[in-house]
Structure formats: C-alpha cells, structure tokens
C-alpha cells in the first residue's frame, strides 16, 4: 500500500472532456491557472494520488466526501476560487482513512479518476466513478492552490 502522492506531477496530461493539458508552469499568476472558462482548455498543476479502497463490511470505502458537479450550485462551494467552477471538490477527509493516508487534502479539486475526466460530470456520475465495486484502487489527479506556488518556488530555486 505504498503511496505515491509525492510532489506535483506535471507530466500528468490526458484526454477527457475537460482536456487537462500538460503543463509547464511559466509563471502565470495563481488565480489564472485554475480559472474556468467554458469551452477553453483548463490548465492546472496536478498531483497524482493513488488510493486503495478499504473494505468495510460489504462496501469499499475511500474515506472522503465530494461535493460539486455540473448539476449543482457552484456558488455554494467554499473551496473553489472561482465561483462558477462546477468541478468536483473534496469536502471532507476522514481521519486515518485511505484517502488521508494517500495524501488527499480537503479542498482538492479532482480532475481525473482512473483516466475518466471529472471536470464536467454530474455529482452522481462522479460518485459512481469513484465507487465502482470491481475496482480496488483508484488513481486520482487532483489539483490545489498550493501546488502552483510550490512549482513556482521550485522553479526559482
């Protein structure tokens, strides 16, 4: 159950509806990178997190809660920087659960789950993608504000 969530991995580009591109942080300001313009490709610094599900009785749980989705009201999301962002955010992480162990933090925006895009999905679809019964491991690409800063700092130094 090694975790691999160390440091930003900016080689994580992939397809998907949100079109997360490979990113070379050239020094744009923090706010702009996570800004969400409909129809335009989204650029973000992401971290790869691998979570091994925990079996509890009949269920496999991941140990966090999600909020958001294209069918939800984005203005009520406390974690998003741009209040029109309808992506999936991590709203709670249970202590000692698999997600925390893997390095998931509260407020993270989930960009991909096992290769499936999560920037343009409904809340229910997101839940389904995360809770597939036949998958024991989910590999997420998440992004957060602090990643951008870390990248900039490491580039300078």
């Amino acid at each position: 159950m090694g975790t691999e969530g160390a440091g930003p991995d900016w080689l994580a580009g992939s397809e998907g509806r949100g079109r997360v591109r490979r990113f070379c942080s050239g020094g744009g300001s923090d706010g702009e990178d996570m800004a969400f313009v409909p129809g335009q490709p989204v650029t973000a610094v992401v971290q790869r997190i691998e979570i091994h599900k925990l079996r509890q009785g009949d269920n496999l749980i991941l140990g966090f809660s999600i909020g958001g989705g294209i069918d939800q009201d984005p203005t009520q999301n406390p974690f998003s920087e741009d209040k029109t962002d309808k992506g999936i955010y991590v709203t709670r992480v249970t202590e000692g659960g698999p997600a925390e162990v893997a390095g998931l933090q509260i407020g993270d925006k989930i960009m991909q789950v096992n290769g499936w895009d999560m920037t343009m999905v409904t809340h229910d679809q997101a839940r389904k993608r995360l809770t597939k019964r036949n998958e024991e491991v989910v590999r997420l690409l998440v992004t957060r504000q602090s990643l951008q800063k870390a990248v900039q700092q490491s580039m300078r130094s």
């Binding site: 966090f64 909020g67 958001g68 939800q72 009201d73 009520q76 999301n77 809340h123 839940r127 809770t131």
Partner: protein, 526 residues
C-alpha cells in the same frame, strides 16, 4: 366690495342662516323658490357672524373662568369658588374686542348687499318663464291662436323643469354659510353675470319681437319659454361643474406648518383659489392639529436668551456705532463659546419624561380605583334602593375628589392645566359614566393634547384669521405658492406643491412563466 377688509378673513363656527331666512320670509313665500341661481359671493359663500358677546372677558363672572384665573388648586379644594375674579385682560383681549366690534358692522353690510342682489336676481330669473307664458294671455288674449294639446304638453314640461331647477338650486346652493372670505369668488361672479346677460337678452328679444308686435303664435311663445328653462338647466349644470366638481380631483399637495412648534400636516387639494384653499386648511387645522400651547415654548426661548446673555459688546474704536458689525461680532462670539446647554437640554428632557411618566402612572391608578366605586344600577335594583340612587352628575361629583389631585398634578406637569377647568372635568366625567366608558376612555382626553375642536370653543378658537399672500387671493393654486394664515398667537405657513405627473406603464407576466429550479450543493461520502 372688500375695501374695508382687504386681507382679512373672519372665521367662526357660527353660521348666519337665521338672519338669512328672516329675509326670506320678508319677501313672501315665493321667495322660497329661491331660484335657479342665487349663488352670490356671500350668501352661499358662507358668511359669518361673530356671535360671541364682546363683553365676556370683561365680566369674568363665569365661575369656571374665575377658578382658572384665581385658584389653580381645585384639586385640593373641590368646593365652589366665589364669583369675584382677579382675571385681568391682556392687551390682546382689548385689541380683539375692539376689532370684533368694528368688524361686525362692516361685515353685515357687505353680506346683506350680496344677499339682496342674489335674491333679486334669482327671483327674476325664476319668474321669467312664467312671465313669458302669462303676458300674452293677459295682454292680447283674444288675438292668440288657439293652441290645444301641444301647448298644454309644453306647460307641463315647463312646470316640471322649473320644479327640478328649484330642487337642484335648493340642494346645491342653499347652504349655511361657513365663513367670510376677503374677495368674491370669481366663478360665482362670472356665473351671475352670465345669467344676468342671458336673461337680459331673452327679455330684450321677447320685448322687441313679441310684446311690441303682439305676436299671435302662442305655441311659438311657449316654446321660447321652454327653451329658456332648458338653457337655465344647462347653466345649472355648468354651475355644478365649475363650483363643485372641478376641485374634487386632487392636483396639489399642501404642507401646513405651524410656526410656533413646527407641527406639520399634508393635505390634498384640487384646483382651488388661494382663499378657498385657506378655508380648507383652516377647517382641517381645527381637527388635525393639536391645540397650540404657548406654555411649552418658553423653555427654548429661555435657553436661547441664556446663550446670548453672557456676551457684551464694547466699542473700542470710538463713538462710531456700527450696528451690523456689532451683531455679527456677537454671533461669532456666541458660536465660539463653549457652553454645555445641549447637555442641559438632554438631561432636562430626560428628567421631564420620567416625571411625566410617573405622574401618569399615579393618575391611571387613581382613576381606575375611583371608577370601581361606581356601579350601574339595573332596572330591578332601582326600585329596591331608591335612597342611594344618584344621577350621573352626582356620581361624578362623588368620585371626583379621589382622583382630582392626581389629575391636577398631571395636568400641571404637562402644562395643560389651562385647558381644563374643574367644571369641564366634572362634565366629562359624568358623560363617561353615563356612556359606560372605562377609566382609560375617560383619561384619553387628558393624557394627550387633542385637536382644538375638543376644547371650549369660545376660549381657544381664534376668531380672526388673516391671509397673507404675495399673489392675489382669488388666483388659483400653483406649484410653489406660499401663503401664511396668521392669527394672534401663531401662524400657519402653507406651501403648495403640485402632484407630479405619473407615467404608468404596464407589464404583462404570463402566469405560466413562474418556474423555479432547485439549486443544491450536496455532499456525498465515498
């Protein structure tokens, strides 16, 4: 017509209809068909009589007057007071009396003149159609063509139209005069002139074409008379529209501010002349404004006096007396002075408020207790104990002493004691007892100062109001007109504003367009 009293208008609550009807009887019963149009300046224009005997304040023998002038402590001494009084007449009263005397003479002349003119004109106008019909019969009966059914039909219609005219005039113009205004009403004068010219021209035509030539076509003559009556009915309609209907629709909002204490009200008026607007304002003043209490104003005057009192001006530069420079220097010095009069005001007001509330509480309790002693006797019980029965007046006198002191203290604290004499309080108390009122209803009159109508008319109604205006008082109201109604103690400043033109547009909302969506933010744990 108003030479003697250019800018004065007199107002009183009394009407002069009695004098007017005397005149009517004098002219015989026919006078009662007063006429299609006797609306002259003064008759229906509401003339006034000053009915108060001018000697009233001189004698001061009225027991209630005596009490107030002399002994304010009726709360403790509730026995009757002697007839002598130390009531002195102020300069105001003297001025008022002399003015009353001289006004009553001039007033009557003017009013009676107007009344006479209107009556004569009315009678003339009313009798004209009848004369038109009767004169040919009297003068050249034999030459007239026989005129059977058509004429008789026309006679009936003339009779009924005259009756309708009579009733209409009676309903509209036979009214008790309410007030006397400085200038004649323009519309009424115009209408009178119109009627006069109209009737005059009809008579002229009749005299020249019919009487002189002794026309034999009787049907034509009767139809001529009918046309006269029809035209008179139309003039009556015109009179209603001009005099009554036109001012009903509100066009102006009028703000009335009392100069002594700033109390203000707003009223809506239509197209009126300034003098009529002043009349409306005064009528509403007596009902809406609280009675003006000069005792409440002394505090601010003394404050202001104290503020300026400590400053003296010394002229250092020699004998040249520069008055305006001096006063400006005083004002500047007074403004810079650091005094704590605002502090005083604040604490004084808070204090006063507390005192009033305490006294009020005591009063309410005393009155409630007093009222519990009275019980209304039912019919059966009345036979059983005839010895103890009291009528309302006696009952009031019986319970009055227990609340008198508290009431008097309260009135003193709120400076209302001059408005209520012991007699008036007893009367009010017996009135309340008769009508089964609760203590709170009895006290309503004393706890808050009411409108002037509530108090004794003779003392507190101003008999004399003066209209001060830059524009002619017969001109209509315009936006921005300001006029002042002065009486002896205070004045009412009236400011006229036009009601703005409102553009109203419509917006149609389809009832089916009311659709809603649920906006959620759900959280799912995975």
């Amino acid at each position: 017509m108003s030479a003697a009293m250019d800018t004065e208008s007199t107002y009183s609550g009394y009407s002069h209809y009695s004098g007017h009807s005397k005149k009517a009887h004098r002219q015989g019963s026919r006078d009662r068909h007063k006429s299609p149009r006797s609306k002259d300046g003064s008759r229906s224009e509401k003339s006034v009589t000053i009915q108060t005997p001018p000697a009233e304040p001189l004698l001061g023998n009225d027991a209630s007057r005596a009490e107030e002038g002399q002994d304010d402590n009726w709360g403790e001494t509730t026995t009757a007071i002697t007839g002598t009084s130390e009531h002195s007449i102020s300069q105001e009263d003297i001025a008022r009396i002399s003015k009353d005397l001289e006004d009553s003479v001039g007033l009557d002349c003017k009013r009676y003149l107007g009344l006479t003119v209107a009556a004569v004109l009315g009678l003339l106008v009313f009798l004209t159609p009848i004369a038109f019909i009767l004169l040919p019969q009297i003068l050249w009966r034999d030459d007239l063509e026989p005129c059977g059914t058509v004429c008789e039909g026309l006679f009936i219609s003339v009779a009924f139209k005259l009756l309708i005219l009579l009733i209409g005039t009676w309903a509209l113009f036979f009214r008790q005069p309410k007030a006397d205004l400085p200038r004649v009403f323009v519309f009424r004068a115009l209408l009178l002139v119109l009627i006069f010219l109209f009737v005059f021209s009809y008579w002229l035509f009749y005299g020249v074409r019919i009487l002189d030539s002794k026309d034999t076509n009787y049907q034509g003559i009767v139809q001529y008379a009918v046309s006269l009556v029809d035209a008179l009915l139309f003039i009556h309609y015109l009179a209603i529209v001009l005099l009554e209907l036109r001012q009903l629709q509100p066009m102006f909002t009028v703000k009335v501010v009392r100069s002594t204490d700033g109390e203000s009200r707003y009223y809506s008026l239509g197209h009126l002349s300034i003098q009529r607007a002043a009349l409306v304002v005064l009528e509403n003043y007596y009902r809406d404004f609280t009675v003006s209490n000069p005792a409440l104003l002394t505090a601010s005057k003394s404050r202001a006096a104290k503020h300026m009192a400590g400053l003296k001006v010394y002229n250092v530069d020699g004998p040249g007396n520069n008055a305006s420079g001096q006063s400006r220097a005083m004002i500047a010095a007074a403004a810079r002075r650091r005094d704590s009069s605002h502090n005083e005001l604040y604490y004084e007001e808070a204090d006063h408020e507390r005192r009033v509330r305490k006294r009020r509480a005591r009063l309410v309790v005393a009155v409630e207790e007093a009222f519990t002693h009275i019980k209304r006797l039912q019919a059966e019980e009345q036979q059983k104990a005839p010895g103890e029965m009291m009528d309302p007046r006696e009952a009031a006198q019986a319970i009055f002493p227990s609340m008198a002191r508290a009431l008097q203290k309260y009135l003193r604290t709120t400076r209302q004691q001059q408005y209520h004499s012991m007699e008036s309080i007893l009367q009010h108390l017996s009135f309340c007892i008769t009508n089964n009122m609760t203590p709170k209803a009895f006290l309503e009159r004393y706890l808050n100062p009411g409108p002037t109508l509530q108090y004794d008319r003779d003392r507190w109604f101003s008999k004399q109001w003066t209209l001060v205006s830059e524009e002619a008082v017969t001109s209509g109201l315009q936006d921005g007109v300001v006029f002042v109604l002065k009486c002896l103690d205070f004045s009412l400043v009236v400011n006229v504003k036009k009601i703005p033109f409102i553009k109203l547009s419509e917006e149609f909302i389809d009832p089916k367009s009311h659709k809603f969506v649920l906006r959620l933010q759900s959280e799912t744990s995975v």
